[in-house]
Amino acid sequence: MELRPILSAMRRNKVGAILIGVQMAITLAILCNALFIIEQRVALSKRPTGADENNIFVMGNQWVGNPPDLKAKQQADLAALRSMPGVVDAVAGNSYPMSNSGSTEGAALNPDQKEPTALTALYFGDEHALNTFGLRLIAGRNFNTEEVIDKMGYTDLTPPPAIIVTRTLAEKLFPGKNALGQSVYVGGEKKSIPIVGIVDRLQVPWTQAGGWGSKFNDNSTIAPYHFVSPYAFYIVRVQPGRLATVMKAAEKTLFDLDRYRVIDKIRTLGEVRANAYQDDRGLVVILSVVCAALVAVTAFGIVGLTSYWVSQRRRQIGIRRALGATRNAIIHYFQTENFLIAAAGSLAGVAMAVGLNLWMVSTFEMERLNAGYAFVGAILVLLLGQLAVLWPAFKAASIPPALATRAA
């Protein structure tokens, strides 16, 4: 294919070519950043929490006022829940994964450290916590009953006699070493606490992309507490398939036990997940729609402008056909022309995409764009151009050679 005539034709139609090229460049820049964000948010909202999500429901339990026999009431609730048919186990705590509320502490290797070695989310729970959440213990043991102490609200900072940590936290605290049996200082305490067990995974309660918790997503610690507070979360694990029935019955059981309470937000962990990642999924859908619209607009723009060029050059095309150019040669002409514009647009687009991403990295604390996205984006834009140019190119090829003799 001879490029010279194409280039000289483009020179006479600079602005049109530039308009298409710039459109393609911006399309590419937006497309690959949007795809990147979509991929990240989808991955974010699919992260496993480490809990047995399909069989857990949770609720907030708020007592009216601050009853003096709080601990006895809570123990009675838990005993009632645990003895319900279909219930595997239940625990009272301060938080659960994806609840977006919880406690954070710093964990340090020595008491005078200025900056903690790692941040960790704290989950309070007694010896039933591991079984209730369905966590997999990969080293050490569960708490025993003597280790579980009372925590009278958040500001009671009596340190626990032992903790269980996640694998990620253990590796962060003691890289390359066995964390089991080691001791750490949690929350600025002057007394160190031994790690008695390590679980495979337990996500922190916060889910927001780039938000609190995103920097220590899998650093969790379970502290052996009876969380004696006027507001506590009850977490209940049921046998597979019993979620809906047990959930309904549980509310009734608790109200029958004592009606001076509020059961707040009783939900399955699946509903909690849907809720926690709702805005992420929303962003994914909106970005997808905008991307689709963007691609469509750019494609129609190419169709429109190329069609115009075809109609402008009807006579020249007729003459070329009369001089022996095949239909394919005409089609190739427009395809090559579009390819040249798209290639230039893609080059500019990749540069813009990287620039846009760098700016987003600095302002939105986003991650760096994977080079693969720019590559895929460039190919998509080239393909888009070729697809869009097909129809006007075929129209051009159907111009009869006789036109050369008829016109003017």
Partner: protein
């Protein structure tokens, strides 16, 4: 003449209906996408208290020192909230025109009807100045007084919805509410009051509704009502056990706002804060130079990133999309106008000036812009409807179109399209009449 150009524009648009539809569609889609996100953005970035956003100040003081531990502060090492001792120190000094310490808490409300179950009420403990300071509108009754603050009175101001729910919307002033087993006397009922964002406490639910019940801070402390918001103990600030220990601790959990009407007041208050911090140092509580800050409501919203990252990303993406749509329309307009070079040549030969050609083409562009804007508005309404089904309830409160948004959409569309039409128009005006006539 304008009328004539308008008729010409319509006729020309009708002649090449495909290009016209493509142009209007491109502009409409671009306007629709960008207006949808702009509406949400404007709500998030909006000024929740426009009359006073430059006179209301969030107060910050460093009570943890340079060794601020795990949670970090801003660039000045300051956190959003303050400790109880400082809140009491500021309230005792009363150095501002108005001031209020406040925190989020909550109750279980026991209805008078024994058949109904208790339900949860989000509440805010605050000082009396909260209401006049934030211009909170009252439907019935009035705020409690400073005397009530000092008397630790059992009084409550309730929101519009709670009044509907408990008292059927009637004037409930003087009636009592059973909150966590204690009787509180209703002194005021609010009109619907929903500042967006909820600027006075951005820690939780920043686009959420305000609390439904307000009680005196002093009474809340007596009742040992714990904070339902962020409660932060870091560094060396381990509190002693119990409620008293919590109050005496350096943990930060209270928001503090001051009303400072004039620049002189602002200066005086800055000086007061620094003196206060210096005093604390003399008393041996702080071991560092005074580090304090006040920020007015507008600055505070920027400082606290009131606009979510998601919305900023969407705004960026949708406005880039609008640019693509406009480039597109520009290309199509160029094609359309150059396709009519012959007509333009004839008009020029018959005596039309360049100016006349300019007006004609720009009016045509404006007509396209107007049509695109109207289509864009319809798409915006559709887009907001879509957002409402996709996003959380909290964000849903931001998806409403008001009159100014409609004006913005149409103006934006017309102005942008006319701008995009400038180059094609210029090209049209360059058409040489003789050349065109010869070519025919």
């Amino acid at each position: 003449m304008l009328n004539y150009y308008f008729t010409l524009a319509l006729r020309s648009l009708k002649r090449n209906i495909v290009l016209t539809v493509l142009m209007i569609a491109a502009i409409g889609v671009g306007i629709g996408a960008s207006m949808t996100t702009l509406t949400v953005f404007r709500a998030m970035a909006g000024d929740p208290i426009p009359n006073k956003s430059r006179q209301l100040f969030a107060v910050q003081i460093d009570n943890w020192g340079p060794k601020r531990g795990i949670v970090g502060g801003d660039e000045q090492n300051l956190a959003e909230q303050i400790s109880y001792p400082d809140a009491i120190g500021f309230m005792t000094a009363r150095a501002a025109h108005r001031q209020a310490a406040m925190y989020a808490t909550g109750f279980a409300l026991t209805p008078a009807n024994p058949d109904l179950r208790p339900f949860q009420v989000q509440a805010r403990a605050a000082y009396a100045d909260f209401f006049p300071m934030f211009e909170v509108p009252f439907r019935y009754g009035a705020p409690w007084t400073q005397a009530d603050d000092e008397a630790h009175a059992d009084v409550v101001v309730i929101g519009h919805d709670l009044n509907d729910k408990v008292f059927g919307g009637s004037n409930s002033v003087g009636k009592t509410l059973n909150l966590d087993g204690h009787a509180y006397r209703v002194v005021g009922v609010l009109e619907r009051w929903e500042p967006i964002p909820k600027f006075y406490d951005l820690n939780n639910d920043k686009y959420g509704k305000p609390e439904e019940a307000f009680i005196p801070f002093t009474r809340a402390i007596d009742q040992q009502l714990s904070s339902w918001g962020n409660f932060n103990c870091g560094g060396d600030t381990i509190p002693a056990p119990g409620w008293e220990g919590r109050l005496r601790s350096e943990c930060i959990w209270i928001q503090f706002w001051a009303e400072l009407p004039s620049a002189a007041d602002v200066e005086r208050y800055r000086a007061f804060l620094n003196n206060y911090a210096a005093d604390q140092r003399r008393l041996g509580r702080f071991h560092w130079a005074p580090n304090t800050q006040i920020r007015d409501a507008k600055e505070w919203l920027g400082h606290e990133h009131a606009v979510s990252t998601e919305v900023r990303i969407l705004l960026l993406v949708s406005f880039s999309f609008l640019v693509v749509c406009l480039l597109n329309a520009m290309g199509l307009m160029l094609a359309k106008i150059m396709g009519r070079a012959g007509d333009i040549g004839v008009r020029r030969a018959l005596g039309a000036s360049r100016r006349a050609i300019y007006s004609q083409c720009l009016i045509e562009a404006a007509v396209v812009g107007l049509a695109g804007g109207l289509l864009g508005l319809a798409l915006t309404a559709l887009g907001l409807l879509g957002l409402r089904s996709l996003l959380s309830d909290e964000v849903n409160r931001l998806t409403y179109l008001n009159i100014s948004d409609i004006a913005i959409a149409v103006t934006l569309s017309v102005v942008a399209t006319v701008l995009a039409g400038l180059y094609p128009t210029w090209r049209a005006a360059q058409v040489q009449p003789a050349w065109q006539l010869k070519a025919q």
